[in-house]
């Protein structure tokens, strides 16, 4: 026969075990505060290649002939990548102003931008400028007319044209000298509005999550 004390102990053990498991289950999904209620957020997020300011020079025929055939690059360029000034204002109030450089130790990688600004929900006039800091004659790298393609033969035929095309493609993919967003945005409570760079249109674009991202 089981003694009453032992029964009592089993009951206590059962209750304690159930309580411990209940606590563990509750601690497994405790509602932990994350963002303050009613706030909204402006997020800037994009990545794009910074513009490269170059001084290019077309090699002479003699210089080209000194190179092996596969090394004969028509135009050689020297230069550096541009830096940008990011300025964010909301309702005339300056939220941030900073210099943005390309990633990497030599800053030759794309610009990766990710900034969050907490705002109250409601309408806000947002002014965002992303301005190239270095002055140049134009928006793109200096274009240089290709040298004669006469020396290109065999598998290297047409290389000069390809170099021009590639240089133009890089210039087009680079961030323009000025990106500007000056608009009024409606911030819903506990929602994020993302401003990103559209490389096809080469402009800043506003995403609010209503449409799926690209």
């Amino acid at each position: 026969m089981i003694k009453p004390f032992r029964l009592l102990r089993w009951a206590a053990a059962l209750v304690a075990s159930a309580a411990a498991l209940f606590l563990m289950a509750r601690a497994s999904a405790a509602p932990l505060p994350y963002h303050p209620a009613g706030t909204a957020r402006l997020r800037l997020s994009w990545s794009a290649r910074p513009e490269r300011i170059e001084t290019c020079r077309a090699l002479s025929q003699e210089e080209l002939e000194r190179e092996e055939e596969h090394m004969r690059q028509r135009v050689v360029c020297d230069g550096h990548f541009t830096t940008y000034n990011l300025r964010v204002e909301a309702d005339g109030r300056l939220l941030s102003e900073s210099v943005v450089r390309g990633a990497g130790l030599r800053h030759d990688r794309p610009v990766y931008l990710l900034r969050d600004f907490d705002l109250s929900s409601g309408l806000h006039h947002v002014r965002l400028s992303f301005t190239r800091r270095e002055r140049t004659d134009g928006d793109a790298a200096v274009a240089v007319a290709p040298a004669s393609a006469a020396v290109d033969t065999g598998i290297f035929a047409g290389r000069a044209e390809r170099e021009v095309v590639e240089r133009a493609r890089r210039a087009r993919a680079a961030i323009p000298a000025l990106l500007l967003l000056d608009t009024t945005l409606a911030f819903a409570p506990e929602r994020v509005i993302v401003v990103t760079f559209n490389p096809d249109r080469r402009t800043l674009e506003v995403l609010d999550g209503a449409r799926p991202p690209r």
Binding site: M24, S28, A103, P110, L114, V194, T196, L207, P213
Partner: protein, 519 residues
């Protein structure tokens, strides 16, 4: 450090005592924290394999939501996976706390301590990736915090945080890599677990079957009754007010979010450093009670019993150089933890830590007063020095003659024989709970030597009815008093034993002791 250890020891004793009062020493899950952690790893693997069948890296949130909505298997299987990870963390933390409090982290045990820390950290990392897999608001929160921490390291060319910015869909590659890490980390944990137990003989990886299945059943019942909730699907354009956070696994999250990434890394490095230097800070000089065992070559008969009993594989048998045809036991001091189990395993008393060999025990026991009380001879209660002082005092007040030993696994059976033949009505040996023995296998080997004729056995001439082995655990005084009372009752129907003065084994030991070298 000693102060910290003492405080931890007091807290641990209180926890042990509370759990023993509830469950009894045999069923106390707090003694089984290490094996419970391993059990949870197995549960995680089993449930994880099932969940993997339904997980889609292309639509993580939806696939987990489908699982959570399946009331028959998916929901509780997912919850069981979650709760098993919680219990793993709790059990592993308690296990580490026990090892620290009982000063079992240094010397030969340092490898187990360090690999245990690695296992704990890997468990947290694995849980982290697991929550990210679900890709609900909590998973997204963890992913954001993790990427924030990783972005300050010069690893990725593009910051990981941009993945979750919302200007593009989160790539499937991210979830694939996360899944890969979630699966690869447990494989690495298998290697760490092997290292963790590599220095112990006969590692016990699972709790007793009844306890194992009870824990699994209780967790399963919890999963059915209280399924783990799933947060809202992750949304880069939403700012969740709260997230359903697993505080057991992600207890560090509220602190981490308040600190800069560099500060978090700094805090983690400091915490890891502090944890890693515990073995060094806790170490004792290898002398006195911490001196490794030594072998007296003249007494060693090469019976090969001490290597079999040593819980740390610290003893090997080597060729003798003195021309005798037997092998000789050799102790590796870098593996010996001075548990003294070998002293109890050596019939000719030729091995043991200095001052605790069989010969030393006999010398000590001969100098103790007669186990007498007013109404006759008292029952001898041999108690482990690890037992709570209050419990031992209580046994004394109940008329028992208490004889303290460093560990009952050290106890040479001749000591028991000595007491019986010197007129004690009976000897009851109170050991620690089997899974809480600092010598790992003390109570097991003692029982085998006393009742199952394991080498260094209690001699057949000793009436087994006068010997009993019981447990004296913190909080288990009631059990111990009941065992003492039952033993006393059983002895009362036996005749009073005759007291012998000159026992043969004493003569043998005297002659050996007189010319044995000092260790």
């Amino acid at each position: 450090m000693r102060l910290l250890e003492r405080g931890a020891r007091r807290l641990l004793t209180a926890i042990d005592a509370a759990a023993t009062r509830l469950y009894g020493s045999a069923w106390n899950p707090v003694y089984q924290t290490g094996t419970v952690a391993v059990t949870m790893l197995l549960v995680l693997i089993a449930t994880g394999l099932y969940l993997l069948l339904f997980y889609r890296v292309g639509s993580p949130s939806a696939s987990v939501a489908r699982l959570a909505a399946d009331p028959w298997v998916g929901s509780w299987m997912r919850s069981l996976h979650r709760y098993a990870s919680d219990l793993f963390v709790i059990a592993a933390a308690l296990h580490a706390f026990r090892m620290f409090a009982q000063a079992r982290s240094w010397g030969p045990r340092a490898l187990a301590w360090v690999s245990g820390l690695v296992l704990f950290g890997a468990g947290i990392a694995c849980a982290w990736t697991g929550f990210v897999m679900a890709w609900d608001s909590f998973g997204e929160r963890l992913a954001r915090d993790g990427s924030r921490l990783l972005d300050v390291l010069p690893i990725f060319s593009e910051p990981l945080s941009r993945i979750f910015a919302g200007d593009g869909p989160v790539p499937s590659a991210f979830f694939f890599v996360n899944l890969f890490v979630h699966i690869a980390v447990p494989l690495a944990m298998g290697v760490a677990l092997w290292l963790h137990v590599s220095r112990v003989a006969r590692p016990v990886l699972l709790p007793p079957k009844p306890l194992l299945w009870t824990i699994v059943a209780a967790l399963t019942a919890t999963s059915v009754v209280l399924p783990a909730p799933l947060g809202e699907p992750a949304n880069a354009f939403a700012l969740a007010h709260t997230t359903p956070t697993d505080l057991t696994v992600a207890w560090w999250l509220p602190l981490s979010e308040r600190l800069a990434a560099g500060e978090v890394w700094g805090a983690m490095l400091v915490a890891a450093f502090v944890a890693l230097v515990v073995p060094r800070a806790a170490r004792r000089p290898r002398e006195g009670p911490f001196a490794p065992s030594v072998v007296d070559p003249r007494l060693c008969t090469g019976c090969n019993q001490c290597p079999q009993d040593c819980p740390w594989d610290a003893i090997t048998m080597v060729q003798r150089t003195d021309g005798r045809p037997t092998l000789l036991a050799q102790v590796d001091p870098t593996r010996c933890v001075s548990c003294g189990i070998c002293a109890g395993s050596c019939a000719p008393m030729g091995i043991g830590p200095p001052g605790r060999s069989g010969r030393d025990q006999m010398t000590a026991v001969r100098s103790t007063p007669e186990p007498a009380r007013a109404d006759g001879a008292a029952i001898v209660a041999v108690c482990c020095e690890q037992a709570p002082r209050g419990h031992v005092t209580e046994l004394r007040t109940r008329g028992a003659f208490v004889h303290l030993v460093p560990c009952v696994g050290n106890l040479h059976s001749s000591v028991i024989e000595h007491f019986v033949r010197r007129g004690a009505p009976g000897v009851i040996v109170f050991g620690c709970p089997p899974r809480d023995c600092v010598g790992r296998e003390g109570p097991k080997w003692l029982h085998e030597r006393v009742f199952n004729d394991r080498e260094a056995e209690l001699q057949p001439r000793v009436d087994r009815r006068r010997v009993r082995v019981a447990t004296l655990a913190p909080g288990g005084l009631g059990e111990a008093i009941a065992a003492l009372g039952a033993f006393s009752h059983d002895l009362s129907i036996l005749d009073r034993p005759d007291r012998e003065i000159d026992t043969a084994f004493e003569v043998v030991c005297d002659s050996v002791t007189s010319d044995a070298p000092e260790p």
